[in-house]
């Protein structure tokens, strides 16, 4: 009698890149790029890095209602080229994706180009080789690239987010291949983002389902940090983003370390920055009403007069601040898909046995 685990095994002619690619295509799997063969020994090496039963249910991922377990996550991590050391982040991300407030069914199915952004915090960011510095959103770091890719493969294979059937994204976006950075805590003037959200574990991961990063460049603001924030507010003030009609949406602001220090030097903390941006990024209510037939607004926003200037989100706490990147005067704004709430969870690591 075969076990459930054995039923998950496929016989292949060989494990060459060409054969693997053909197997993936035959099943409608993969992201189009070459993969590493998910053999039993490779999957076992991943599983040795996480505690607990490899076949325990981490969550159900929609729309396919696929059950994700550490083993299933490990298969996708191997395919993506992850190192075992970084794998616990994939397991934590799988748990986060299943949380109801993240609304994965909507995130995956929508015509919007939303992709889940992973922000890795704490000890595992360093030990797993994640890039928090120069070019963090870009290529060159195996951990960022392959953990981001592993999460996308989990979405494709387990959640059924296949373009045209479970993912209706009209145009897609490059962040749907891989979207993973580490928080640059070494150069952050503030406490860890995870700690600021009440997650005090040594390692953690945040998932925010949003657009690709929109750059904000400011090198004029020496001595006047308001100029940096005004430019971010300007980038936030867009009718083209879902934050305009949906007030529960968050706006993540990934400050470059130099911008962060310019703000911290005058004593600004996360809450001050959120309040400033809440106050300065505004659009007239009448303009929003004209542009959006349906507005998922907080009740207080519905009763204001047309000439009132409304903020781009319903509450300052929806503006989230973290530090990422290297030298230079650049910050990233990551608007939300809208009907989703970010999740921060601890990353649990095993003892390698």
């Amino acid at each position: 009698m075969t076990t459930r685990v054995e039923q998950r095994l496929l016989e292949v002619a060989d494990t060459s890149p060409e054969t693997l690619q053909a197997v993936l295509e035959e099943h409608g799997w993969g992201d189009g790029l070459p993969v590493v063969p998910p053999t039993e020994d490779r999957v076992d090496r991943m599983l040795a890095q996480v505690p607990g039963d490899p076949d325990e249910e981490l969550g159900v991922l929609h729309p396919r209602a696929g059950v994700v377990t550490p083993r299933v996550a490990a298969v996708n991590a191997v395919l993506a080229g992850c190192t075992p050391e970084a794998f616990p982040v994939v397991v934590a991300a799988a748990r986060a994706l299943a949380r109801p407030e993240l609304n994965l069914r909507g995130v995956n199915a929508t015509t919007h180009p939303v992709a889940p952004l992973l922000i890795v915090h704490g000890e595992i960011a360093r030990r797993g080789g994640f890039n928090a510095g120069v070019g963090a959103f870009g290529p060159g770091s195996r951990a960022n690239a392959t953990v981001g890719r592993a999460v996308r493969l989990v979405l494709l294979h387990v959640a059924g987010a296949v373009p045209g059937s479970g993912d209706a994204s009209s145009q897609g976006q490059p962040a749907k291949y891989a979207y993973c950075v580490a928080e640059n805590i070494d150069e952050s003037p503030w406490e860890s983002y995870a700690v600021s959200r009440g997650v005090t574990a040594p390692s953690a991961v945040t998932i925010h389902c949003g657009e690709g990063p929109h750059n904000v460049h400011d090198m004029e603001s020496a001595g006047d940090p308001a100029l940096i924030l005004d430019k971010i507010a300007s980038a936030m003030t867009s009718l083209g983003m879902n934050n305009a009609p949906i007030s529960q949406g968050e706006l993540f602001v990934g400050f470059g370390p130099e911008h962060a220090h310019s703000l911290a030097m005058v004593g600004l903390g996360r809450g001050d920055i959120a309040s400033y941006l809440f106050d300065h990024a505004r659009i007239r209510a009448g303009v929003l009403r004209r542009h959006f037939e349906e507005r998922a607004w907080a009740t207080w926003m519905k009763i204001v007069a047309d000439d009132h200037l409304l903020p781009m989100t319903g509450h300052p706490d929806n503006i989230r601040v973290f530090v990422v990147g290297g030298p230079g005067k650049h910050t990233s704004l990551i608007p939300s898909w809208g009907m989703t709430t970010s999740v921060t969870l601890p990353v649990e690591e095993g003892d390698g046995s």
Partner: protein, 180 residues
């Protein structure tokens, strides 16, 4: 022996369900319209409900948005519980949608399946461009044969007269979908 690799997809956790029993006859029945707020959704679905009611001597009993108290709607989340209860209470069959984008298709199909589960036959109004997504979602959510009524695309941005003609032309299909 050939090498073995793991499948990457995992098992499916959704329990299968089945359609509600369709009424033996439609005359005298109450038709409810559950509107997700997509542009022109209320217009095209209300017209469909009215034309259907006229054909079979039924009545349009309720047209409501799916948000709390029926005052607003967000197409990317499930129907609000109070509205769901009202629709169940005040309708014998339901027309819902429109499933003409991604997340709204997922949640229109979800809402329709929840209605079928409590015995209310529910037609999901979708469009040619989103029929495949609606079909996939129905399979994923455990009810492959949801009652999907496919209109031309797009519903948003099309003029009222055209939409009304599409709705009128879809009455025969709606009747087929509601056959016992």
């Amino acid at each position: 022996m050939s090498p073995l690799i793991y499948r990457p997809d995992g098992e499916v956790g959704q329990a299968a369900t089945s359609l509600a029993i369709a009424p033996a006859a439609l005359d005298g029945l109450r038709i409810g319209v559950l509107d997700n707020g997509k542009p022109n959704a209320a217009l095209v679905m209300t017209r469909l409900a009215e034309s259907l009611a006229e054909r079979v001597d039924a009545a349009v009993s309720l047209v409501t948005k799916k948000g709390p108290h029926g005052r607003s709607a967000n197409a990317a989340i499930p129907c609000a519980p109070d509205v769901f209860a009202r629709v169940v209470d005040e309708s014998d069959v339901v027309i819902t949608g429109t499933a003409d984008c991604g997340s709204c298709t997922a949640y229109s199909v979800h809402d329709a399946i929840e209605l079928e589960k409590v015995g209310k036959p529910a037609i999901v109004v979708t469009t040619t461009q989103f029929a495949t997504i609606a079909e996939t979602m129905s399979e994923h959510f455990g009810l492959p044969d949801t009652r999907r009524l496919v209109l031309p695309h797009p519903i948003g941005g099309t003029d009222a007269m055209t939409l009304e003609s599409w709705a009128d032309a879809a009455v025969d299909t709606a009747l087929t979908l509601l056959e016992p």
